[in-house]
């Protein structure tokens, strides 16, 4: 038979300041866990949704895995279109997107310059980059750009700086912002898009970084790969876009491992906060716990009651931290080397945060409870 639920709950009110401070400490710890897990989930999701399995990227063999370093001939798109039957075609238009992609210094009025990611595209880009949606304004014409949802974060400036109608400077030229776009949380959202030929002119380049091809089926990627292998003179390399971002995920694996390590360290700190509360709370109740045993309550019932106390506090902390995380942390954008992404407090993050929160309650309560119940009842009855 367990002790009444009210016993555990009301015990928390015995030392209200101490319980309040512990609640604050646990809430902070769990909120930190939410932030770190939100970071990991945001990074993972950004890279996962960025890769379309039907899209294959063709870029320079010599650039290894960094598309920014790639340079391929401007004739490659036509060559691929003529040679590949697997490319999606509609109304005679091949769905491939020649692109020039680079990181460059972007200057905005009254703000220090930032490193932006710029993609020069043609009007066929939306045929291949199917997740891109213009949320405001229009497609950029000559001398114009449209900016992704997280471009401001990537540049380290407030979102208002990249409002439609504002001017930015890059590659020695002034550009007018005419549109804003979203891309379902993918890495494109941290980019600035402009007209390909405009960017080529500004950068004095005639080449491309890559060609993105939308293929009929996923197996067709091997056909493109075979073409690249056969045409050694072109020094091309083909990779399915989803695989490309998978490779990036591997690249950021140490960051994710480090983040999980931080989750572990923060959780450990939380356990100490819980231990501190429960050791303090039980130190003054040793005789009371012995009295309960004299009345006939078994040790396990008392243990469960003490754990209940820890759990009630941890649950309250999890709820507060979870609510705060959903309302204020979810969607916060973070600048990162590959661009920017939004912290993501999804169901998995909530599950991890709450599970760790509840674990803190249990682990914080168990050792002091076991210690208090370990000594003999007769001795504990004499405890001061």
């Amino acid at each position: 038979m367990l002790l009444p639920w009210e016993y555990g709950v009301r015990n928390l009110a015995r030392r209200p300041i101490h319980s309040g401070l512990t609640l604050l400490a646990l809430t902070t710890v769990i909120l930190l866990i939410f932030v770190v897990v939100g970071f990991i989930r945001g990074l993972e999701c950004s890279l996962t949704v960025s890769g379309d399995p039907n899209v294959t990227l063709v870029y320079s063999m010599t650039s290894e895995e960094n598309i920014e370093n790639s340079a391929i001939s401007a004739q490659i798109p036509d060559l691929l279109s003529a040679s590949m039957s697997a490319t999606v075609k509609q109304f005679g238009i091949a769905h491939h997107s020649p692109e020039l992609y680079l990181g460059t210094r972007v200057t905005m009025a009254e703000h220090s310059p930032g490193l932006g990611l710029v993609r020069g595209v043609t009007q066929s880009a939306p045929l291949v980059r199917r997740m891109v949606r213009i949320t405001e304004g229009t497609w950029p014409q000559s001398g114009e750009v449209m900016v992704g949802k997280l471009a401001a974060t990537k540049l380290g400036v407030p979102a208002e700086v990249l409002q439609i109608g504002n001017q930015i400077e890059m590659e020695g030229k002034s550009w007018k912002i005419t549109g804003r776009f979203a891309a379902e949380g993918s890495s494109f959202e941290s980019e600035i898009w402009c007209d390909l030929s405009d960017l080529q002119t500004a950068t004095k380049r005639q080449d491309l970084s890559l060609v993105a091809m939308l293929l009929n089926d996923r197996m067709a990627a091997s056909e493109v790969g075979l073409f690249c292998l056969e045409r050694k003179d072109l020094e091309l390399r083909a990779i399915r876009e989803s695989e490309y971002y998978q490779t990036l995920q591997e690249h950021y694996r140490p960051v994710r491992i480090l983040s999980w390590l931080i989750v572990g360290l923060v959780a450990t700190a939380g356990i100490f906060a819980g231990l501190n509360l429960m050791y303090g709370a039980l130190a003054g109740r040793i005789r009371e716990l012995a009295m309960l045993q004299v009345l006939g309550y078994k040790r396990i019932a008392i243990l469960v009651s003490v754990v209940q106390e820890g759990l009630v506090l941890a649950s309250a902390a999890s709820l507060i931290a979870g609510g705060f995380a959903i309302c204020w942390v979810n969607g916060l954008s973070v600048r990162f080397t590959m661009g920017a992404f939004a912290l993501r407090i999804d169901s998995l993050a909530i599950f991890v945060g709450c599970a760790i929160g509840l674990l803190l309650g249990v682990l914080g309560a168990l050792p002091p409870a076991l210690k208090a119940l370990h000594a003999s009842v007769a001795i504990n009855l004499k405890a001061v």
Partner: protein, 239 residues
């Protein structure tokens, strides 16, 4: 047949290299409805005996049979169940739980019995009435006087209708006036409700309310059946 029967009970403690024997092969019988007081100097084994009869400590040898059950043979879990059904314990300091009301404190032991909530409520109310606090059920311990708190402690001890109630210096922390009220209450409970009691006390006056007084010294009972004789044979430690 005695309700409580201790046979050849020995209890020893080891402290460093020294072995202390607070109870040395003692025998004791307590009849149903009897009120026994236990006196003795500090370290004479009174509390040890009380703990053994309560089933919160185990003897090194001997048997303790209460209402036909040898409690020395019970496992820890069974012993807890046995205590819940058969034992009432009155502590020196009432040991009430401060976050529970008087009613909830008294109700605690009844939660371990197989009873409906109505049966429990009736028992709690009866116990509270028996100690004269029927109108204080919703008060928290901090809202009660020392004497009232001890009365709630007594109500908690009798609420399960136990076979035996043990009391560890029940008036030890009370002033004289309150102490006398509690003595009267214990006497009434024994005489009117027929509750079997075993009480440890240092106070001759308190011991005198019992129907039989026992004196322990160095782990053995000393013949002593009245308060004056206890005072005479118990020595200076009894005061």
């Amino acid at each position: 047949m005695a309700l409580v029967e201790l046979s050849n009970v020995t209890k020893q403690f080891t402290k460093g290299e020294q072995t202390i024997t607070p109870l040395d092969q003692i025998d004791l019988q307590i009849a149903e409805g009897e009120f026994v007081s236990l006196m003795g100097p500090s370290g004479s084994g009174k509390s040890t005996l009380l703990n053994l009869v309560s089933g919160i400590d185990r003897p090194d040898s001997g048997s303790i049979v209460i209402d036909g059950t040898d409690i020395t043979q019970l496992s820890r879990g069974k012993l807890a169940d046995w205590r819940a059904e058969n034992l009432g314990y009155i502590f020196q300091t009432h040991n009430l739980i401060p976050v529970l009301t008087a009613y909830e404190n008294v109700e605690l032991p009844t939660l371990l019995l197989k009873q409906t909530s109505q049966q429990r409520a009736r028992r709690v109310q009866l116990a509270m009435n028996a100690v004269g606090l029927g109108d204080r059920v919703n008060h928290y311990p901090r809202q009660l006087s020392g004497g009232q708190e001890q009365r709630v402690g007594i109500a908690r001890a009798i609420v399960t209708h136990p076979k035996i109630v043990v009391a560890d210096e029940p008036t030890g922390s009370l002033d004289l006036k309150t102490s006398r009220q509690i003595q009267k209450l214990l006497q009434d409970l024994n005489q009117q409700l027929g509750i079997t009691m075993l009480m440890v006390t240092h106070d001759n006056e308190v011991a005198s309310i019992a129907t039989r007084q026992l004196l322990l010294n160095q782990g053995k009972f000393i013949d002593g059946h009245t308060s004056p004789s206890v005072r005479r044979e118990g020595g200076e430690a009894l005061g």
